[in-house]
Symmetry: C2
Subunit: 568 residues, 2 copies
């Protein structure tokens, strides 16, 4: 039932329907497509400057969310990993404020439901378009909360995150229109008149969706759940990570503006900022009003959510242990360069960064001859050193260490095993306060039981393990065990053997995990492209969903059928 589409909404449909159709086509073919340019310069001559100015204007001020019921208290929790003074205060969501807010959010859902999937998609795409128009401002916000280097904050926090948001909108739309708005059902009854029933089908959101944001990729990991929930008729309450509020607070404010302009209740999207230690996600997650939860972060709280927030559909991306199986290669230099980049990007602070490199202790066959375990490790270390030898380039790749926990982890790498490549502190001339570290590589031996404590735990940050194994068969068994018990967002393998290729695929099918084979050149295991690559499999302990597929959206709404006898 699609009713009451205001003129603004009709305009939005007209404006965005071609983009929606193109996105629907992309998720069907999974060929390359993106409507969001990756180049900073594509956003206009003054866009970079304006974005930085907009960001600077936010610093040291109160971030108002006009119209949203708030407590009157303010909270400022962000700390730029680059040492920049943030000082942005957000309305603190205490229990009283949330008690006032949730019913108001719920109240907006009827009109949001009635307008139908196409209008909801159009409103979502308008929100994305306005976010896209402010990509440089978002880039600054992401950079100074996550510690990503500028170009990565720009791309992953901007166009790539917007792509993932749009992908979720496309899936949400596709799922909702699989059932028609109405059907004329006519069942023959032999010689008697047929039974005639008129049926109407209305996709209806489950309730209020809670988005629990993360520190390292606030937009990239936040947009899919945000837009999937909103596009399927839910209200969305955004609870950012206290260290990465701004990117999602901007998102909330933009969404509220668009919703209001289109004639909907702005409170369909709201911000729940907290003070350090408030822990409001835990309270919110079990409130009966919350019917959908998206979470990215550590496994402990993710598992708590899955166990306790049983009134809600819970989508989690938790931690995992990513493996590279190194069996053999036809491009030794390409492999080393590719791996060096993967380990270095954002100082390994990606849920997709390889952690365990499984290398046969007897070495591997390569196009450059047989390479021993030690040679592979040494050569990989040399590749990292070469990649990051220039400090400007190193800073541009590594970004900053996001918090002290990660810094302590890399500093304590020597306690885990023999350091093959030590971490190096890099100066950042532009931001002297930044903690910048090159990745460390630690040697471990799978034959030693005590090594397990290292390679079978997630070691988030710039530490990876070169694990010596007896054979590729042993590597595959360890891969299987690692995915099954620890989860994996990514698996990567290098081999020239069709048989090994088949075997590693079999492991990834069984467990299941996403596999990249023999990557060299400019495609990296830790990067996935919206509309084409799945992020996570949703089938192992690292995540219970994939970004994005039908399962990511199909249970965020329910279809209510109303049936009546057809009038004669």
């Amino acid at each position: 039932m699609t009713t009451g589409i205001g003129s603004t909404t009709a305009q939005l449909i007209e404006r965005h329907r071609p983009t929606l159709d193109r996105a629907l086509d992309a998720i069907r073919t999974r060929e390359f497509w993106s409507p969001h340019p990756e180049h900073p310069k594509a956003y206009g001559e003054n866009a970079a400057e304006e974005g930085r100015a907009a960001f600077d204007a936010l610093r040291g001020s109160r971030f108002e969310v006009p119209g949203q019921p708030v407590s009157g208290e303010w909270t400022a929790t962000e700390v730029s990993p680059y040492g920049l003074e943030m000082g942005i205060s957000y309305p603190r969501a205490d229990e009283g404020a949330l008690d006032a807010l949730l019913p108001v959010m719920r109240a907006g859902m009827s009109a949001w439901r009635d307008v139908g999937p196409e209008a909801r998609a159009a409103v979502c795409l308008e929100i994305l378009a306005r976010i896209s128009g402010r990509t440089h401002e978002f880039a600054q916000a992401v950079m100074h909360t996550s510690g990503q280097a500028f170009m990565m904050a720009f791309q992953a926090g901007g166009p790539h995150a917007q792509d993932r948001g749009m992908e979720a909108v496309a899936y949400a739309f596709a799922e909702q229109v699989r059932t028609p708005e109405s059907a004329a059902w006519e069942k023959p009854q032999g010689k008697r008149d047929p039974l005639r029933v008129t049926k109407e089908f209305t996709p209806t959101g489950r309730g209020i969706a809670l988005l629990v944001g993360c520190n390292t990729f606030p937009t990239w990991n936040g947009f899919p759940g945000f837009f999937a929930s909103l596009a399927t008729g839910n209200a969305v309450l955004v609870k950012p990570h206290p260290r990465a509020v701004l990117p999602l607070a901007l998102t909330v404010r933009i969404a509220r503006e668009v919703l209001a302009e289109a004639g909907f209740a702005p409170d369909l999207v709201a911000l729940a900022a907290e003070a350090d230690g408030d822990g409001i996600a835990r309270d919110l997650a079990v409130r009966p009003e919350i019917r959908v939860i998206d979470y990215t972060g550590g496994s402990e709280f993710g598992e708590w959510l899955e166990a306790n927030a049983r009134q809600a559909r819970v989508f989690t991306e938790k931690s995992g242990v990513n493996t590279v199986v190194i069996d053999s290669t036809g491009d030794y230099r390409g492999m080393l360069a590719n791996l060096a980049f993967s380990l270095s990007l954002y100082s390994g602070q990606m849920c997709t960064t390889p952690q365990n490199l499984l290398i046969p202790r007897d070495g591997i066959e390569t196009d450059a001859g047989k390479k021993s375990y030690d040679e592979v490790v040494t050569d990989l270390g040399a590749s990292v050193v070469k990649l990051l030898g220039d400090d400007t380039r190193a800073n541009a790749l590594l970004g900053a260490i996001v918090n002290d926990g990660v810094r302590e982890r890399v500093d304590s790498a020597p306690s885990l095993g023999e350091v093959a490549l030590p971490t190096r502190e890099v100066e950042n001339p532009e931001f002297p306060g930044a903690t910048v570290r090159t990745p460390a590589i630690v040697k471990l031996d799978a034959a030693k039981p005590e090594a397990e404590a290292g390679y079978l735990s997630e070691c988030f940050g710039p530490v990876s393990f070169a694990v010596a194994v007896n054979s590729t068969e042993e590597a595959l068994a360890l891969l299987r065990r690692t995915i099954r018990t620890r989860g994996a967002m990514t698996v990567s393998a290098y081999t020239t053997s069709p048989e090994v290729e088949r075997e590693v695929q079999e492991v990834c099918f069984d467990e299941p995990a996403q596999l990249s084979l023999n990557l060299t050149g400019g495609v990296y295991v830790n990067q996935t492209a919206a509309f084409s690559d799945f992020h996570g499999s949703g089938g192992n302990p690292a995540a219970n969903c994939a970004l994005s597929d039908a399962a990511f959206v199909a249970d965020r709404f329910r279809v209510v059928e109303v049936r009546r006898m057809t009038e004669a």
Copy 2:
């Protein structure tokens, strides 16, 4: 990746693809369609006799499942509600047998995955075709386990269940082919060569799916989960209700035969029968091998599964309290006749049977003039009496009471309130051992707090409550509260007021629940048609899924992506 389709499988695809396409069309338009005839005579002149003979041959014997690892013990737990001696023994699944069985089931999954979604759908449709060919045998099996009258056992246990199974196959196929088998991804790099990646996408089952069957609708409620799981690449372990083993045991044996003939491991489908009190579902449900669970039955175990079987995706249909809001009607006699039938069918032992009839205490407007609360209740009772006045017709509609619990419930109806229509014992001349009861109607007053204990609990069986309310507004508030706190598989309403119609829809959108409006004639609130009606909403406590929609199938498999640099 679709490989290794044997010639038999190719033949099955050729045979069943047109049916699959027709089913895909049906779930898209939701117009009437069924490939399974409802009339017993459509199955051939001797089919009824042959079916009964086949059933009789099974009675008093051991039901072998050739090839399946078993314990060597046998268990016979079925008791025909018609008093017929069953005496069918099934292989008892003890822990040792299950320990041997589960790895064998898992081992069959690789080939089942590799063959691809189309072949899996074709094998499933072949299983359904063979089940369809034995519909009369299934009818006897369903009748003598559930207590359904013959015609209902035939239709609901036969063609309607087969429709629901096929619907699940269609959804499973549609979801799996939404992602292409492969994609050529080419990302422009300005003046440099584009990045080229070849991507393969393989739907892969989660693992072993556990089907926990129910007593009253072993096939109708069992087939959707069974076929959804099998069609998406999982192995399926069938744990029938101890009182309704045969319909699912036949299903397992037929499925194993088809799988073997098509070249797959027959152990992809297996039977886990138990002795009374074994409670193996509880143990199985938390085993790590079990990754999907389908359950129909009481809320207590359903909620236990949702809370504890966290390694699995759990789909539950539990109990609920179904409401009829009676505000006004333009067809008083039609309403009464329709309700009388709904209350009587299978003695109210359907999860969709109305329980609470909410009637304004000041009466309702009808085409036959104003009717007081008492008149409505009295007239409804008279309609039931008239419908069931003839014992032959009564037996044909009511079937038998499935177990002593239901019998005790209806016998104790007078303790719940003033009995407006007492239950009546009906003799069944063909099966003198059958317990046959007409529905009781008990008056309750919503103004009396003690009445809540009655109408706010599920009272499964032939007892319904005529609840006096102050107004339709109060009825709607109670409807909302009932759905939200107790769940509802169905909601029904009678009104001539567009405003009330709008309001009751709003409640059903909000909570969400499936709504039938002003049903008269031959369409009943407790019946839903596959390919068109959703059974349950999946959005209230009665069930966490709907039969069937994309959400019912989309998370039973995961898509594993394998990507490689494209060869130059």
